[in-house]
Symmetry: D2
Subunit: 371 residues, 4 copies
């Protein structure tokens, strides 16, 4: 079904940008897990709007209310966990004109065609980036479960426009690289900050975003995400591999237009002798010395860090005038989108990438525990 | 399940490189479709080994035997269509050493971990590129169904190593670009040929592949695939969109490490004003003037060509000596892979990309016909 | 996943008897359907507790709040419809003893084993009959969609203990029988009443229930459900047939221990010449003259009424002392269940059977519209 | 999908009665299981036609060829196991008339409507009882896996027409009853025999079947199936419980019209104090003293035998003249079905019930191993 994914751990997301509430249902969580609601709130805050000059001024509490799935001790009880977030701060008036003039780059037109005009228009309806909030509730809980199993996930903004952050040191798999990668993750999780490893790169990204905003425009970016500590042997061949499942879920984040693993698109220019990761015995365990594969071979984890990058397009809603059409009169029309929009959706999507990664990897761990 | 995908049209692939047979089951095909077995054989031939100097000398008939799913008139009858391809030409001896020394870059090690040593080793087992043959049977039939509905799919090798073919003219959506794209597809389907639009680029790719082979090495490449004629409104929001489903299926092709749609990773460097596709009324239909979105917005088709690219890593099996481990003795080991391997798997994967594209798009058309 | 069912129309139910809220998510509803909330409330009222002497005195509003899935006109918009019902009236104290002494006939013990003691105990947790409320929200909406397509569904209590209601006149398929069946359905839907066709049978059932209550005991019953107006050709062969899907869903109603279609178990004693439904042309349409098949052949509708019966066991929670065990001390124990329990769960399950029937049949209509 | 079922262990069945071949694909089998092909052949023989006067004279080898899923040691390797059975003995001429005159009680008419006349008519196509052969291949392997885990499954003909076999002693759960049940299973598996516990009942059933044949008619029957040794805690709440999944799969056996668990429909007439199974500590384990629940509470196993009964209708194809219609001319018509048909399909369905039971229970064991 369109709004759900996962095999053993299944997440269903519901809501529209301006519906009374949004939320999620998570089926298949292991029982007996006490949800740390403070940690969850901290994680959610990273996605929340209104953090700084780079985000939309729309402010919402985004406080999820967990209405089922916990027992009297606050631990998961085997039943589906459902969380509801009220939509308290909506300004549908901003969207009045959009009812008939679809925004270029947005799903307005395709939803109109698919649902014969019955789609919920204001705020993008079910296509809104706001729907990533319940995804982060589910993912935030999955992150806690994974952390207890020794899996650590982190993401950062690798680029915005032409500004680059330093890369995760995850294409190498030497002990030194592993230690360096752990430091990079420590840096990212040290506190509320713009999500780059190199703070200076973050400053320059913010400048690029601000410049776009001032020119009534927007910019895209690339998010890089890594998961350390995944045991070897998780995942599946062919169509249920880690890459398949991560890709399927990641394209559920609005604005994602590409995904690559390990060396990614670069592999197309390499020779096998450069791209293959040779093995060595390390503490009695066969271990890849490098990690061009991004931790996955044949859809199954190698034990090296799972590494992927997603390309985010620039925010579709821009104030600059664009060509569109009037669906009522069937004529050409002009459109300038007003309202509150992030000029760079990639920034707030960083924790969403972590959430999606956590959900997919936990599902893989739960789906094939005993084969 | 790992070896199947699709919602309304479901494909299950079975077999190992050296099992008695391989094959597929296709559930959900519309009834009443007469399968053109000659056209299917022609399509299969594009994937078959032994076509030229660039492929493995292993020769197989790859002639699928359709054992169920057709009625007495040779038309689909509503029951699952099953096809079986016998494995007649296997040389398991080549793989004896691989039983204990996993090939870097291959799934040998991850399968060994996942299945506790029970995996079928010879030829890569279920992970073998040979499993793309039944995928092409299913996809070849889907291509026929789509053609009858006005959808035309084609793919080519966009690059091998550093050699580039010309791009599909599909990022524009003007009538002129559409006509040019149709010509490009005509060129590709004109007859048996190396799968480039520009024949000269093909010649240079073959040279690069040959050079890799002579240095006991291999090379990667990028495949670009396009589907013209998809009606607007197919697909779904969030996790069942065209991008999600194409990505999930495409990573089922061995060696794929990245996928991107429309402008792809390039969008991360663009402004919204550059990336958004403005609309205009064309013959009474709201139509995007450009196609940076690759024919998909919010997971749903816009009516413009669906366009994606996949990155294929260089063949993992290379004759050059590599570091590996001996799983029996638990010591480091050296490995040189002999046997018959394409030095560039991307070449033969071109029709496989078309097959996967056809299966996913037909599923989308069948899944949401009447909403 | 355990708490969801359906292919194109998918229902996910969440909540526990005493969790903050319960609810459902319905994916795949056709767009453009204005939900009649008054009709939905009337339908829900038939399942609600506190209607008379035969039900539990626990009173709840059971007023569902639809928090997503509707557009600004109150019509379905293509996005998942989610409904939330607050749990306002809970008395967990009643269940204190049950935390360690499982009730015979209930899921207390099996849930304790499955979830290692983490299950939510009070009120039966996720296993509570209370979870049929959100099922009725989803089913109540499906009933409205089906009614607009000419499908009418009704159910009644065929028996309680040894008291029998008259049967639906649905094993015949003559025009006279069809007219009589319509009258029976009219009688049942004429207003708030005990759910029997024959009012006198209802009076005697109530007496039997009351007698059971006075002896600190409970009684079982059989529910009969019929759907008129289903077009021929809906459903699927083998494992996705109407019978398969109705059975799977019906066993999700707590206390169901058997299901049968058409003549049901009686067919085991019949000859083929008695059980086969002969055909005749009627208004140009091949039509079964009788309906021993219950409207389904090979999993696919015949056009005759879909007819099934489900056996409901007597309420497990009884005040009479029973043998059980103390899970903490690991010794034998005695248990008398106090609290508010219907002595006959079959009564309130009548609309639930209709809800389940509606959801399954609507899914069948939506899943295979165009084959 | 219609022709497949299962979550972690998924079976897909393909073929038509008279297609070149039939078969199955089984995904998700644990790896490392050496399939005992002799035991499988013995199991298949119980379903095979041509065993005696009570079955169809159509003789087929029904020898499955396992074409994938095994490694070089004959053990499951993690890849899908596919088995193919050739259709060597077909007499489509028998069915010529049926192309236009649908058999009452069969799926001929409903398939014609659903697939617009494209269905494969001869022998019932995909609806044929012959499709239970590949189901038995899959189930026969599942039985072997379960036996190695201490689960024993057996079924018998509880009744044919009005002749009754003795019941499984499985509604009690005392040690004495358990021993008696084991003896009953020993009797049934002692060698090739008509599938009753009481040999005399078998003789009388054969007489009833023979009488039906002589009157150009057929008879129905009830199959009772039991699984001993299932650990407590397997299964799931609500819609994925053991009852739900067994019911869904069992209605995939052609001619099944009802299913009940434990006391079944009888519970509707019982009081709670009669139907509840009280607990006692037995060897430190909370154990139900009786087993009216058929080994399942809340969809989850109690540790007592899983017990169910299915009602099989009389064979639809009878030689006696019946009323039908001519689909070409659109007029009423008469039909007498010639050809080779069992007058009692229940007999050969006994091992099919065991197969289905094994597949569902193994899936339950594999799906929720670690919650």
């Amino acid at each position: 079904m369109p709004s759900s994914f996962g095999q053993t751990l299944r997440v269903t997301v519901f809501g529209q940008s301006h519906s009374p509430a949004i939320g999620c249902v998570v089926e298949g969580l292991p029982s007996g897990i006490v949800v740390d609601q403070d940690a969850l709130a901290t994680f959610m805050a990273r996605r929340a709007p209104g953090q700084g000059s780079w985000t939309t001024p729309r402010r919402e509490e985004d406080r999820p209310r967990i209405v089922s799935g916990l027992n009297v001790h606050g631990a998961t009880c085997g039943a589906p966990l459902a969380a509801v977030i009220e939509n308290t701060n909506t300004r549908s008036g901003d969207y009045a004109n959009l009812l008939k003039v679809p925004r270029p780059g947005h799903a307005d037109l395709t939803a109109w065609v698919k649902w014969h005009g019955n789609q919920d228009v204001p705020g993008g309806g079910h296509f809104s980036g706001r729907l990533t909030a319940p995804l982060c509730v589910a993912g935030g809980i999955a992150l806690q479960v994974l952390a207890a199993r020794g899996v650590r996930i982190g993401a950062h903004l690798l680029s915005v426009a032409n500004v680059q952050d330093e890369r995760f040191d995850a294409l190498d798999n030497s002990p030194a690289a592993q230690a360096h990668l752990a430091e990079q993750l420590d840096t990212l999780s040290a506190g509320p900050r713009y999500p780059t490893i190199d703070a200076d790169a973050g400053t320059r990204m913010l400048a690029a975003i601000d410049e776009a905003r001032r020119s009534l425009d927007s910019v895209g970016g690339v998010i890089e995400c890594v998961a350390c500590g995944m045991p070897a042997g998780a995942g599946s061949p062919m169509f249920d591999g880690i890459e398949n499942m991560l890709a399927r879920a990641a394209f559920g984040i609005p604005a994602v237009k590409g995904i690559e693993f390990g060396r990614g698109f670069e592999v197309a220019r390499l020779h096998g002798s450069e791209n293959n990761d040779p093995y060595e015995m390390r503490d009695g365990v066969p271990t890849p010395k490098t990690n061009n594969a991004g931790g996955i071979l044949g859809g199954i984890t190698t034990g090296a860090p799972v590494l992927f990058r997603i390309a985010m397009k620039p925010t579709s809603s821009i104030a600059r005038e664009q060509d569109s059409v009037d669906l009522e009169s069937g004529t050409n029309a002009k459109l300038s989108v007003h309202g509150r929009h992030d000029p760079c959706v990639a920034t707030r999507a960083v924790p969403v990438a972590e959430a999606v990664c956590a959900l997919v990897l936990l599902d893989a761990l739960l789906s094939y525990p005993a084969e």
